[in-house]
Amino acid sequence: MASEATQKIDKSVLWGGGRSPFSVTYGKSMMWFFLVSDALTFGGLLIALGFARYKYAGDWPIGEEVFHSLPFTNGVFPLYYVALMTFILIISSVTMVMAVEAGHRNNKQQVIKWLLLTVIGGVFFLASQAWEWSHFIHGTEAGTTLSNGYVVHGANMLVNEYGPQQYANFFFFITGFHGFHVLSGVVINFIVLIMVSKGMMEKRKHYEMVEKAGLYWHFVDLVWVFVFTFFYLV
C-alpha cells in the first residue's frame, strides 16, 4: 500500500505545515499513541510479575502443571489449551489483516466476510478464557492441605491451591485485563462490521476505520504473545 509513505521527502517540506508529516491521518496516529501507552501498562504488569516470581523463586507454580486440561477430556495435556487459545487469537489477527487488505481494494463483501470471521475468533477466545478461569477457580479434586488442616480447592483472591497468593492474583489481573481488551476489541470490530455492511465506508471512499480497529485487534494479539511467554511458558 502507501506509496507516498515510502518516498523520501525533504524535512522542511515534511514538517513545513499544510500536510500530514507522518503521512497518516490524525485518527491513525492517535490510535498508535494510545497503543504505545497501553503497551507500557501491560509491560509494567509483566515487570511486576517478574519481581514477584523472583521473590517466590522455588515456590512459584509451573505453568504446565497448573494448565494441563482440555475441555471434554480428563487427560493431561500440558499447555495445549493455552496454545490453542494463542492459535485462535493469531488466526483472528490474520482474518483481520485480510479484512484490511480487502478494504484497500474497496471490496465490501470480502471486508464483511473477514471482519465477521474476526469477531467469531474473538468470541471463541473469550469463551476459552472463561472456561480456563472457571477451571482455575474450581481447581482439582485433591486440592492442597494447608498447615492448619484446611483443604483449599482452586483459587480466589485470598488463597489458592497452586502456590503463592500472588500467583493467582497475577493470573486474574493480567489475563483479566487482557480479556477485557479482547472484549472491547470484539465490540469495536462488531460496530465497524455494522458500519461496513451499512455502506458507510463506501460513502467515505476508504476503509480506514477497519484499519484502525485492526491496529487495536493486532495489539491485543501482540500482548497475548507476551503473556503466553511470561505467564505460561517461562
Binding site: F51, A83, E101, V234
Partner: protein
C-alpha cells in the same frame, strides 16, 4: 468534515488503494507470516511441555530462546500485520523509541536477580 490527512495538493493518506494483482502478492505474504507465527508457537509449546523447569544451564538457555522467539513473533505482528514497516520512518521511530524504557527495566530486574547490584539498593 475537514480532512486532516492531506499529503500533497489534493492527495490524502487514505487514498492509497492497491490493485487486485498487488492484493494477491500481499495475501501471499500474510499467509507466509501466519505459517511462521504458527510454527514458532508450536515449537514453543513443544519446548515448554518437554523440557523440565529446573535451575541450570539448559533451562536458562530455553528461557532465553523463549524471549528471542517472542520478540521475533512481536516483530512480525507489528511490522507486517500492523503495517508499521510500511509507514514513514518518523512515525515508526516515534512509536518504537519509547520501548527503550523496557531495556532499562530489564537491566534493573536482571541486576537485582543476579545480585551484583543488591548492595546499591540497600540504605
Amino acid at each position: 468534515m475537514e480532512r486532516d490527512d492531506l499529503i500533497v495538493n489534493d492527495s490524502y493518506a487514505t487514498n492509497n488503494h492497491h490493485s487486485e494483482e498487488e492484493g494477491v502478492k500481499i495475501r501471499k505474504n500474510i499467509i507466509k507470516v501466519t505459517l511462521i507465527l504458527t510454527a514458532i508457537t508450536i515449537f514453543e509449546v513443544f519446548l515448554g511441555s518437554t523440557i523440565k523447569k529446573e535451575p541450570g544451564l539448559v533451562w536458562t538457555l530455553v528461557v532465553i530462546g523463549f524471549i528471542v522467539m517472542t520478540i521475533i513473533k512481536a516483530k512480525y505482528i507489528v511490522m507486517e500485520f500492523m503495517h508499521l514497516g510500511q509507514e514513514r520512518s518518523n512515525i515508526r521511530k516515534t512509536i518504537l523509541i519509547p520501548y527503550i524504557f523496557f531495556v532499562v527495566y530489564m537491566i534493573i530486574l536482571i541486576s537485582i536477580i543476579e545480585g551484583g547490584w543488591q548492595g546499591v539498593w540497600q540504605v
